[in-house]
């Protein structure tokens, strides 16, 4: 016989605004207490999710994260505070959530979700909420949820826009029905590269939290077979039909995927366990060496390929701004025989710029390793990081 679940006097007081609504009531609050939810990620989406699901009284919440809180998180990850910078996100999130509601059982999974551990972790929860930030993990969470028949409450964000839906609910459509394949790496910028309005994950995370609570209570119309799009700038919600793909390789009738696969490879990412490429790649230059070249007044041009609004935040004296997107049209301004050093924020975009110049016959082009962030670390700490 399953252990009988009851609410104590303190819990009855705490949940009184739920208990007085017939749609929730004692029965619903006990459903919440008996429920278990796995939160994958305690970042932008995970922050409001963790706080509200704890407050609502979800009985057992598992958290998956292996990251550490840094200052750039605080603009949106409201579960963490300034005092938490440098702490593990799990510790910081659990501290906040257990303060909000000490009656909730919190479980730590201080790992990166992988094909090896995902089934064992997800198996122990009723519902999975996807608050990750990359394509390989999103396909991994999807496939594990389909294989284990667990609903996957999905949300994703970019700049001012969000998407949300519930995948794999009672045989409904899955992430692969929506997007059969991921974009090639580098084509879709991440929030770290493209930015995100700090409030946006609050809205999208709470759509996910709402759907999670509705699934547990069994009330309302779940966001199944519908993709909700949110545009913060237009302040518009739109709903698109999301159909189950009969040919879906994992949830279709003739499925070809029966177990988890290598998601790094599926998403075209270099395998993290493969032997590392040589660290000193030709074409890279260390910021310290760039500083020495500037001090020596070497005959070269330092090109900053970031966006004008980033140039306003900080810049390296003597650098010339040509945003990456404008570079193809402005190649004519540059002498193919001259020497160039390209830089950006962290070295990714300037790597693309270096490749572009080389493809166009420029021979003396190098990419400043680590971008202006590394410049701040190694050369001039007064340059602010962002």
């Amino acid at each position: 016989m399953p252990e009988e679940v009851n609410l104590g006097k303190d819990e009855i007081l705490r949940y009184s605004r739920h208990l007085i609504m017939p749609e929730v009531g004692m029965e619903g609050q006990l459903k919440l207490k008996k429920a278990s939810v796995l939160l994958v990620g305690t970042g932008g989406l995970g922050a409001p999710l963790g706080m509200y699901l704890a407050a609502a009284g979800v009985g057992r919440i598992g958290l998956v994260d292996f990251d550490v809180v840094d200052f750039t998180n605080l603009q949106r990850q409201v579960i963490h505070g300034t005092k938490d910078v440098g702490k593990k996100k799990l510790d910081s999130a659990i501290e906040t959530m257990s303060d909000i509601n000490p009656f909730v059982e919190l479980e730590r999974h201080e790992v990166a979700l992988t094909s090896e551990n995902a089934m064992d972790i997800i198996r122990n929860y009723d519902i999975v909420v996807d608050g990750t930030d990359n394509f390989p993990t999103r396909y991994l969470v999807n496939d594990a949820c389909v294989l284990l028949n667990k609903p996957n409450v999905y949300g994703s964000i970019f700049r001012f826009e969000g998407q949300s839906t519930v995948f794999a609910y009672e045989g409904g459509p899955c992430y692969r029905c929506l997007y059969p394949e991921p974009p090639p790496p580098g084509l879709v910028p991440s929030c770290a590269e493209g930015g995100v309005l700090g409030i946006l994950p609050g809205v999208v995370g709470l759509i996910q939290a709402t759907e999670t609570v509705k699934l547990i209570l069994g009330i309302g119309e779940p966001l199944v077979g519908r993709l909700m799009l949110y545009d913060a700038l237009g302040m518009k919600f739109r709903e698109l039909k999301l159909r189950k793909n009969p040919d879906c390789p994992i949830c279709g009738e003739h499925r070809t995927i029966h177990a988890l696969i290598d998601y790094q490879q599926f998403c075209g990412m270099p395998n993290v366990e493969a032997p590392a490429a040589p660290v000193e790649q030709t074409g890279d230059i260390d910021p310290v060496e760039v500083k020495a070249k500037l001090d020596r007044r070497d005959n070269f041009t330092l090109i900053d390929v970031r966006e004008p609004h980033e140039f306003q935040i900080c810049r390296i004296p003597g650098s010339v701004l040509i945003p990456l997107g404008e570079l193809p049209k402005r190649l004519g301004e540059l002498d193919p025989n001259a020497e160039f050093v390209m830089h950006c924020k962290s070295g990714v975009r300037s790597g693309k710029a270096t490749d572009l110049l080389k493809q166009n016959g420029f021979r003396r082009v190098r990419n400043m390793k680590g971008g202006i962030l590394a410049w701040s670390d190694k050369v001039d700490p007064t340059v602010p990081k962002y």
């Binding site: 990750t132 001012f160 394949e181 039909k241």
Partner: protein, 91 residues
């Protein structure tokens, strides 16, 4: 004329437009008209064989064109085509 809604990540390739009016009797023709007007958009929407990329979904009003005839889906005056690319952000 149909209306095409351009999502944030692609607006930089469409002179910052969020909505563009285009002609064309099918979804494919409307999208081609869009890429003729904004050539930088082309490689983000179509692969080298000229087919819509698999991580870019296109909806005619609220229906995914994969289930209504793909690029051949007829488009009427006043219809809205939405481009909905895959995004993964969450942190």
């Amino acid at each position: 004329m149909a209306r095409i809604l351009i999502p944030t990540p692609l607006r930089q390739f469409a002179e910052k437009n969020d909505t563009v009016e285009v002609g064309g009797a099918t979804a494919g023709e409307a999208l081609t008209a869009l890429t003729v007007r904004f050539p930088d958009l082309k490689k983000h929407l179509f692969n080298d064989e000229g087919k819509l990329r698999s991580f870019v979904n296109v909806y005619l009003n609220d229906e995914d064109i994969r289930y209504t005839g793909k690029e051949a889906t007829p488009v009427k005056d006043g219809d809205t085509l939405s481009i909905v690319p895959s995004i993964a952000g969450g942190k």
